[in-house]
């Protein structure tokens, strides 16, 4: 052995130590080029943005002060309560259905055929935005909260069961194996080996989805799915921007409140 540190080191050491990743470089370059191309094609120009800012300023000016008349508030209150009901019911039903569907879709627990069937179902449920699904349900079951609830149940299953399946696929197989080795049946293994590992994250997903359903429940109303969406949309169309502001402020308040509640709930199930 000679004293030299690396007798057979390659001539270009830096390149040997950190070899260039050409596919990655190519991907970034392609993305940049496409973005530039898309901007040039889509007729986006600075002048229109400036003009838009001016319009926005006028809109905001007309919003103040928020409308706090008693009859308007009563209307908003009813709509808001309906929205919250839609969100909570849709989350409850959707999350309850997501658990078995998510388990069925987890490839480490479920037989291959069942897993692919469940994944197919999830993919279909995820294909459309809640508003589009809501339009379908309004046509099917008529105007009102039922359509809104069904639409959000669909999107809840799509989101929660997909992520829940991923959570289940990430569990420690060793812990499950140990429970299996005691002679426990499948249900027992799920209960003592699988659920303890995934429940905290499942609750996290459910709470996040409640939050997201609260926001979405204000939207399904626009297409007739019940809740605050309809009064909000009407206020826009009638240029009652002060009422719009009141509704927006209340929605913001409720979402913030939800944020606090959800972090508490997550702590409890840690």
């Amino acid at each position: 052995m000679t004293a030299s540190a690396a007798p057979n080191a390659p001539s270009n050491m830096a390149a040997a130590a950190f070899p260039p990743n050409w596919p990655k470089r190519f991907a970034w370059a392609a993305l940049t080029i496409y973005a530039v191309y898309a901007i040039s094609v889509l007729d986006i120009d600075f002048e229109r943005i400036v003009r838009g800012m001016d319009n926005a300023r006028r809109l905001f000016a007309r919003m103040f002060p928020p409308n706090l008349q008693a009859d308007k508030l009563a209307l908003i209150r009813d709509g808001m309560i309906e929205s919250i009901q839609i969100a909570i019911l849709a989350t409850f039903v959707g999350v309850a259905l997501s658990m078995p569907i998510g388990l069925a879709a987890a490839r480490n627990l479920s037989p291959v055929g069942l897993a692919w069937a469940a994944r197919g179902l999830i993919a279909i449920l995820r294909s459309f935005h809640p508003v589009i699904v809501a339009i379908l349900f309004v046509k099917a079951v008529g105007f009102g909260v039922l359509a809104g609830i069904l639409a959000l149940v669909v999107s809840t299953i799509g989101f929660v069961s997909k992520l829940f399946a991923e959570v289940v696929e990430e569990i420690s197989a060793k812990q499950v194996e140990a429970v299996r080795a005691t002679g426990a049946g499948f249900g027992h293994v799920l209960m003592f080996g699988v659920f303890p590992q995934v429940m905290a994250r499942f609750v996290g997903l459910a709470v996040y989805q409640l939050d997201s359903n609260l926001r979405n429940s204000t939207m399904v109303g626009i297409v007739g799915g019940g809740g605050i969406g309809a009064p909000l949309f009407t206020a826009y169309q009638r240029f009652d921007y002060d009422v719009v502001l009141t509704i927006l402020l209340i929605i913001i308040g409720i979402i913030m409140l939800m944020e606090v509640v959800s972090s508490r709930v997550r702590q409890i199930f840690q």
């Binding site: 194996e177 080795a181 005691t182 027992h188 209960m191 003592f192 080996g193 303890p196």
Partner: protein, 265 residues
């Protein structure tokens, strides 16, 4: 060549708890990890299986409770060949075989008590397990075991992920014994532990094996520990048994045959 422990072989000697007969495992066809292993295990004490990594020790032990399915051969346990059993028959066999793991394999988010009572899951209806309505005497026994593995009742409600490695392995042992097993398998139970804790854990296994007369089969890397606590040593290399006998019969020459070379000794 093979130093057989005569007592094991003689008919009418200590009853055989487990008999492996030409047990073979091939993960890939034509490449056996276990090459027709034939071994008897009687009802007494600790048997240590030693051998280099990748020699099939773990596979051997996992074939016994069928976490790994053997390719051919038979496994006689409590009067039946369990090499091919499935479903509820397999679960009934597993209930009678406790297992201790290298990385403890406790369910991290369950408490110590819940982990120990996991050993009773094979006997408890699902709804009772869900509501944690285990039988009074099972809970009493869990507390007893907690005591006898050296942890004590105040550990009962701690979560498993708050324990040290040695404490976890003690819970792992309590869980295995909670099954009231006819046999305990221990797959490298000390390999993730420091030397002092390793000795304590082996001591505990040997102690429980003697006091409750449960035979323990342990895979172990540490030859010194194996010699100190095992009544019998099985040396494996390349999927074959090359030594089977008392610890004091294990010579430097045997060890070279098992592990290859001599420089490390």
């Amino acid at each position: 060549m093979m130093a057989m422990d005569e007592a094991v072989r003689q008919p009418g000697a200590a009853p055989v708890v487990l008999r492996l007969d030409r047990l073979r495992k091939e993960y890939r066809p034509g490449l056996p990890v276990l090459k027709d292993i034939t071994l008897d295990f009687d009802k007494s004490g600790v048997t240590a299986i030693i051998g280099p990594s990748g020699t099939g020790k773990s596979t051997l032990i996992r074939c016994v409770n069928r976490l790994v399915d053997p390719t051919s051969g038979s496994i006689w346990f409590e009067g039946a060949d369990i090499a091919q059993v499935r479903g509820s028959a397999l679960r009934a066999v597993r209930r009678r075989i406790g297992m201790v793991f290298q990385e403890y394999n406790l369910v991290e988010r369950l408490t110590v008590m819940e982990n120990i009572l996991t050993g009773r899951l094979g006997y408890v209806p699902l709804w009772r397990a869900y509501l944690r309505r285990f039988a009074e005497q099972d809970i009493a026994r869990a507390f007893e075991l907690l005591e006898s593995v050296g942890l004590g009742a105040d550990f009962a409600n701690r979560r498993a992920d708050k324990l040290s490695g040695g404490q976890r392995q003690r819970v792992g042992i309590a869980r295995a014994i909670m099954q009231s097993p006819a046999l305990v398998l221990a797959d490298e139970p000390t390999s993730s532990l420091d030397p002092k804790t390793s000795v304590e854990i082996m001591e505990l296994l040997a102690d429980i094996s003697a006091k409750q007369s449960i035979p323990v089969i342990v895979n172990i890397h540490n030859v010194e520990l194996a010699k100190r606590y095992a009544r019998r040593i099985v040396g494996m290399t390349g999927g074959n048994v090359v030594y089977d006998g008392k610890p004091d019969g294990l010579t430097a020459q045997h060890l070279s045959e098992i592990y290859g070379g001599e420089e490390w000794q």
